[in-house]
Amino acid sequence: MNGFIELAKTLDWSPLWISLKTGVVATIISFFLGLWAARKVIKKDYRAKSILDGILTLPMVLPPTVAGFFLLLIFSRRRAFGIFLNDTFDIQVVHTWLGCIIAATVIAFPLMYRNARAAFEQIDANLVYAGRTLGMSELSIFWRIVVPTAGPGIASGTILTFARAMGEYGATSMLAGNIPGKTGTVSQRIAMVIQDGDYVTAGFWVIIVLIIAFFAIFLINMITGKHMKNVRKW
């Protein structure tokens, strides 16, 4: 125990802040993108829906290293788009914190999108129609009626997205690398110290991850649980 306290004092805390920052930014991006994509997809007919849904869900099903491979193909400074970003906007993705965010967003986005979509599909279309006949704008209907009504589903999607984005390893290590203090996230730090045989530091980080993960699940249950009060036990 004393060892842990000693460790906490001398520890480089930067992985936690990098992970949290990455998680928050990736979640914000996924949140809006996910709601937008979910809204677009449920408007489509059956065939278009299946295809779009497949593409949008793919990053969740693929091994993260495969996603990382594609991201490298796109953003590498030796390839067209990477060169374009670098020369025109002075934006570098590979081996930067921006790389962390992009990798985490791509991997976590499907969780937001799928949860939002499932929640939207449960919404009584009459609520939207009622909003329209009352003269409410489409934007106002979406933010004041649809999103609050789909609230529990969207909230649990957001938390899952955050947890997934924070813990992302595979794609991040390929695109952003593990530069301490810059792109070194908690997951990458755990992998690194284990390679060095430092199980104490690894264990320390594992406990922190466990606490955050448990807290996330607890939060989901609190939010969705309110609406589950009337469900009969069986």
């Binding site: 009459n126 609520l127 009622a130 006949t133 009352l134 003269g135 409410m136 009626i145 609050p148």
Partner: protein, 349 residues
């Protein structure tokens, strides 16, 4: 001037919707079975359902016209729509629901919503959520939410079907009261002839996507003109008919020949007779009488249903007896014949 004109054409699965409603009545009813296209008609007028072609106009303002490519968004139609399940926004308080259609939450709009809630006796419930209200209260909020936007036309889609039977009767009376000060037209769609008889001045009867009869409500009930409209307005007894001459018609399924004072059009193909309209006859057979050959009696809380055997075993005659008549029957016993009164005989095409 108040006038709804809706000429609506739309291809849907089993049949096509081809509806023409042209009415200047204050309270318009659309009667039809479920799946007859009546809700679709209402949704098309409100603009929440697409139309293939036609023309929709309210008080001279064109909402939709396929040849001029006019198709106003539902937001711009100024048509209030009350949904079967009321569609109150579940996460918004009663007050916010009523203010939803008013735009910015200014002091003036808050006042308007407040007044409307007071008028519908829902003051004191401003902060409740819709889920905490009874069915009748939800309906009042839904109507308040519509009325506060001052629509040119109000559409009611089966407004009482979500209520239990006690509340349904009460809300029908209440609805008429609540709409009393409203000066625009109201269209109500229902499968219940009782609701529409009470509510509407003009009635349109819809079957499989087409209007099969329309007119002043009471006259549609008095003379439904065709068998489907007769059935929808509650007629229980039907027989195939053969016109013998101008004043004689043969009801084949019942095995009687009826003599009428009025002229019988040559194209009459069937006869209808409402179950409440028979008169019991004791002793001698009179004109337009059917032998009382009892098949079955059903006891209901406030009436007795007698089923009388006819030539067609699948179609016994129904005779529904209530109140005073029921007492006479108890005193004098079952009659020998049932008489069909000339004015009640429905000649159908």
């Amino acid at each position: 001037m108040k006038r709804l004109y809706a000429d609506i054409h739309r291809r849907i699965g089993e049949f096509d919707l081809n509806v023409l409603i042209d009415s200047d009545a204050e309270r318009v009813g659309i009667l039809g079975e479920s799946g007859s296209g009546k809700s679709m008609t209402l949704r098309s007028i409100a603009g929440i359902e697409a139309v293939d072609s036609g023309h929709i106009e309210v008080d001279g303002r064109v909402l939709y016209d396929s040849s001029e490519k006019t198709d106003l968004k539902p937001q711009k139609r100024n048509v209030g729509y009350m949904f079967q399940n009321y569609a109150l926004f579940p996460t918004m308080s009663v007050m916010k629901n009523v203010m939803a259609g008013l735009g910015r939450p200014t002091e003036e709009n808050r006042g308007k919503a407040s007044d409307m809630l007071k008028r519908f006796r829902m003051d004191g419930f401003e902060d409740r959520l819709p889920g905490e209200l009874s069915g009748g209260q939800q309906q009042r909020v839904a109507l308040a939410r519509i009325m506060v936007t001052e629509p040119a036309l109000i559409l009611l889609d089966e407004p009482f079907s979500a209520l239990d039977s006690y509340l349904r009767d009460r809300m029908q009376v209440e609805m008429l009261e609540m709409l009393e000060d409203y000066t625009g037209q109201v269209v109500m769609v229902s499968h219940s002839r009782d609701e529409l008889y009470r509510f509407s001045n003009e009635l349109f009867v819809l079957s499989k996507g087409s209007i099969i009869r329309h007119g002043e409500t009471k006259s549609v009930f008095r003379e439904p003109e065709n068998a489907i409209a007769a059935r929808l307005t509650g007629c229980k007894n039907f027989s195939a008919a053969k016109v013998v001459d101008d004043h004689t018609i043969e009801a084949a399924d019942w095995g009687v020949t009826l003599k009428l004072d009025r002229d019988i059009p040559a194209d009459i193909t069937s006869i209808g007779y409402r179950a409440h309209n028979f008169s019991p006859v004791y002793g001698e057979k009179q004109e337009n009488c059917i032998r009382f050959d009892l098949m079955r009696v059903d006891d209901l809380p406030f009436e007795k249903n007698y089923y009388i055997r006819t030539l067609n075993d699948d179609a016994p005659l129904c005779w529904f007896v209530q109140g005073e008549e029921q007492r006479i029957l108890e005193e004098r016993g079952l009659p020998d014949y049932l008489k069909m009164n000339e004015d009640d005989i429905l000649l159908l095409k």
